[in-house]
């Protein structure tokens, strides 16, 4: 499997750092289970740090969309941090830059969630 994740809490926000690839198969499954795990623990504010993601395919993009939808349905928010140029280009091509809140600065991203969510 070519994906790893780390989790840390910054104020009320769970920051998930992903590295490697988000592609069809085990990598997408890993992301899905990571998000599912956070939701089952009641996490509502998730910031995905994609700074170390080298490659996302269309299935991976779909997984990001599904993650966004799952978190939103639970009344939470999922935002993105530190996109590489390649990943940003992908979200531009797919028009998903209009869907995701994207940040380059972790502190600003954390602040954007406000203080009302866990």
């Amino acid at each position: 499997m070519s994906i790893n994740s780390t989790t840390k809490k910054v104020d009320s926000v769970t920051v998930i750092g992903l590295s490697g690839k988000i592609t069809i198969g085990e990598e997408c499954k890993h992301l899905r289970e990571t998000i599912r795990g956070q939701l089952s623990e009641g996490t509502k504010s998730i910031l995905l740090n994609l700074g170390d993601i080298s490659y996302i395919d269309s299935t991976g993009i779909g997984e990001l969309v599904s993650s966004f939808t799952s978190v939103s349905r639970q009344g939470g928010q999922l935002k993105l941090l530190n996109l590489t140029k390649k990943v940003h280009d992908l979200l531009q091509i797919t028009k998903l830059v209009t869907v995701f809140d994207i940040f380059e600065d972790e502190a600003k991203a954390v602040k954007s969630f406000g203080s009302t969510q866990a």
Binding site: T23, I24, G25, Y55, D57, S58, T59, I61, G62, E63, V65, S66, F68, T69, K86, D89, L90, Q92, I93, T94, K95, L96, T98, V99
Partner: protein, 155 residues
């Protein structure tokens, strides 16, 4: 008509574990053509999406079926063909993933990405196979260094 200089063909069991090999072969040939980092990445993405489509959608992950890859280097372009043994497929039947009602769907973006990364994309039927996707990308010219941008049609 310019003479073809290199042609590489491989046929593999229709198995997702072979996608990486298909990518490596395509990238190796593309590197020989002089593509830079951005071009190689675009070719990798297009071939990856195409191979996934062939194996998952064309061949329905049937390990008894095969997937074919063919790369032809012409003086002005790299032509990549990916074949499956699936039923006829019309890319125009795929809902536009950029339409508002499809934007949040989890699937259906593969062809959009292929079209964004390659100069030409078309689908036909191939004798003794099934669907054949033909993609081409112009070779980088020494006098016109490769541009780093992607998504020409969507910018």
């Amino acid at each position: 008509m310019a003479k073809e200089t290199i042609r590489v063909e491989i046929t593999l069991e229709s198995n997702l574990k072979h996608v990486e090999l298909i990518e490596v072969i395509a990238q190796t040939v593309a590197k020989q053509c002089g593509f830079g980092e951005d071009g190689l990445h675009e070719i990798l993405m297009a071939v990856h999406e195409c191979a996934i489509n062939a194996i998952c959608h064309g061949n329905k992950e049937d390990l008894q079926k095969q997937v074919g890859l063919s790369l032809s280097v012409h003086p002005d372009r790299l032509e990549i063909r990916v074949r499956d043994q699936g039923k006829s497929f019309n890319p125009n039947d795929v809902p536009d993933p950029l339409d508002k009602e499809n934007l949040m769907k989890p699937a259906g973006r593969g062809i959009l990405l292929i079209q964004a990364f390659m100069d030409e994309f078309r689908v036909g039927r191939c004798e003794n196979w099934g669907n054949e996707v033909i993609m081409t990308k112009r070779l980088p010219s020494p006098s016109q260094p490769e541009k780093g941008g992607v998504g020409r049609e969507h910018q």
